[in-house]
Amino acid sequence: MKHFLTVFRYELKTQLLKKAGIVAMVVMMVLALAGTSLPRIIALFDTDKQAAVEETAPETAAKIAYVFPDEATKALLAPVTGPMPLVMDLREDLVKALQEGSIEVGFVVTADLGYEAIYQDRSMYDTRDSDFAAALSRLKKEQLILSHGLTTAEFNAIENTQIKGATTVLGKNSGTTYWLSFILMLMVYMIVLLYGATVSSIIAREKDSRTMEILITSTRPSALILGKVAAAGVAAIIQFGMVVLTAYIGFQINKSTYPEMIVMMVSGTLTTSYLLTFLFFSFFGFILYLFLYAALGSTVSKMEDLGSATGLVQFLFIFGYIMASIAAQTPNSSLAVVSSIIPFSAIMVMPMRAGVITVPWGQLLPAGVLMLVFVAFFAYLSIKIYRWGSLNYGNKTKLSRIVREALRREGR
């Protein structure tokens, strides 16, 4: 225990003081703060844009010209075109004005309130033709309502008749919980890949630089592996904890500017049962992967071989990610249920399922127990493989043989 703490403290200090890690953490904290402040920032720009639109409205209006079939239609369309529209006699005049650049868009209106919109060049975001169409449609609808002897107010009252009804969701409403669960899954994905790679490279570097021989003759391999994995785990919690805390602070500060739907989404997802499920499976799944990465880091003799050695575990993890994406759509499918029990995929699938549905205890308990058993077994195996790795340099060995030889060795 004493040596475990020595290794843990040393590795944790080394990881937390790494400049690259500090910079990455600060960047992520800034991004988290910026991300959660986005609604406020957008609102600021929207106000400006609205003001700008209001200011430039007359100018824009001046760049539109109309050709009417008669004075009656012109008068009828006054609410749409404004009281003093730029009117031309013929379509050809309008085309000429467009080609000369004196107007930007022209509308040729027909007697039955049809129209032709003519542009010289049309930008991607120009909606003046569709706006005009909507206004004409509204006008025509009002004419029809009047022709049936109704006023517009009467018609609106009929159209907006409300049905009294309520929806009660006893479990989870995946419509509101899906997105936050998905974001948290992505965070777990990043943490595992980032810190898994860190652990495997620390061990591979120790082996590459032959520091391992000094370590292995100084203390027990169990203290070394457990200390390193625990340090990586705590470093991840501290560093990502800071990012999550920043995001939480950002959310609280900017909460008033968020659409109600998003506030509901967050509060609807972050229930105690979900948080407990998320924390349990993400944490132990993370530790499980750290042991896998540590074991594979011990099998290489040179740093450049590390990528290919850890390929298998990355494949396993990406499989879990795909399963979690499937589980988000079909959380009760057999595939989702099975993959939420297998520890390698349960790390992401179970929290995802718990986010969108209420997972029965009959599935949660076996998955939890299996996760703990796997963590214990792979901790033991990674210690054995680490010890095996300290003796083996040079030739590449098949993983199955490594496991066999590692488990066969007796003693420390």
Partner: protein, 303 residues
């Protein structure tokens, strides 16, 4: 303390590297473990340190099975490595703590050995920023942390310049004086000859000789005389002697002749012959072979 290496065998795959080697090391006497590259020195030391597990045989310390992790041992592996990107003081303190020291003692011993090797200015520097020679000193310093009772050093002199080698020799000598058990492997005979009281010679996984160095030298020099000339040709003298003493084996080595009387007690007759022939001698006496001579001879016999 007495460390006994008993009938150690070790194979890698189908190839047996150590063929049942045995020797002893006692505290207060430095043991030089000699052999050519690939003779099995590092494998023996790694088995001793439990880096490898031997296939058969055992290591005993004072009659009990030797468990290196239960003893205060300073170990310098042949292939030295430390954390390049970490600071010197921090990692030496860490190693001392891993070997059982508390934080205060670990810091104290780390400071002491860094200062001892004259690297006090580099305590807070990353190892990779030190010169190669200074990095070697730090690597050696880690073996001396925590006042070990047993020192196991694999090729400690390799790569050291003469000044650093002298500092290191003095350090080992101090440990021996304090009654510590010291074993180190080397193929650099001169260092072993200067530092060691006992030697063990390993060749292709077999022990060729082991014991007190002085006694070995006497034994290997038995019945042999050595002469060098103040004037004249050694080659001509060799031919004259060969003609006069058919039973004496004569070898020309480094400007001198080695006369092996092979138990024939011809020493007096040889002296008389040299006097009669008025050979101008620079030196004449009992031959004491150097460790290099013994090494070459023994390895040659088994080549």
């Amino acid at each position: 303390m007495k460390l006994q290496v008993q009938d150690i065998k070790k194979s890698f795959g189908e190839k047996e590297i150590l063929h049942g080697i045995s020797f002893e090391v006692v505290s207060g006497r430095a043991m030089g473990f000699l052999g050519r590259n690939g003779a099995g020195k590092s494998t023996t030391i790694r088995c001793l340190m439990d880096v490898f597990r031997q296939d058969s045989g055992q290591f005993l310390l004072d009659g009990q099975v030797f468990k290196p992790w239960e003893k205060r041992i300073g170990y310098l592996p042949e292939e030295r490595g430390m954390y390049q990107k970490n600071d010197v003081l921090g990692q030496l303190t860490y190693f001392a703590m891993l070997r059982g020291a508390n934080k205060a003692d670990a810091l104290k011993t780390a400071h002491y050995w860094i200062d001892y090797f004259g690297l006090g200015d580099y305590k807070k520097k990353k190892l990779e920023t030190l010169s190669k020679g200074n990095q070697q000193k730090i690597q050696i310093a880690q073996a001396f942390l925590n006042e070990p009772d047993i020192l196991v050093l694999d090729e400690p002199f390799s790569g050291l310049d003469p000044v650093n080698a002298q500092v290191f020799k003095d350090t080992i000598a101090n440990f021996v004086k304090e009654g510590k058990l010291v074993i180190f492997s080397s193929h650099q005979m001169s260092y072993v000859e200067e530092v060691c009281d006992d030697v063990t010679l390993i060749h292709e996984g077999h022990i060729l000789l082991t014991g007190d160095l002085k006694q070995i030298k006497r034994q290997e020099g038995q019945d042999k005389l050595q002469l060098s000339l103040a004037e004249g040709s050694l080659e001509a003298l060799k031919q004259q002697l060969a003609a006069a003493f058919a039973k004496v084996d004569i070898t020309l080595v480094n400007n001198s002749l080695i006369l092996d009387t092979q138990g024939t007690n011809l020493q007096a007759q040889l002296m008389a012959w040299l006097a009669k022939e008025e050979v101008k001698l620079r030196s004449f006496g009992l031959y004491e072979p150097s460790l290099t001579d013994i090494f070459i001879q023994k390895v040659g016999e088994h080549a």
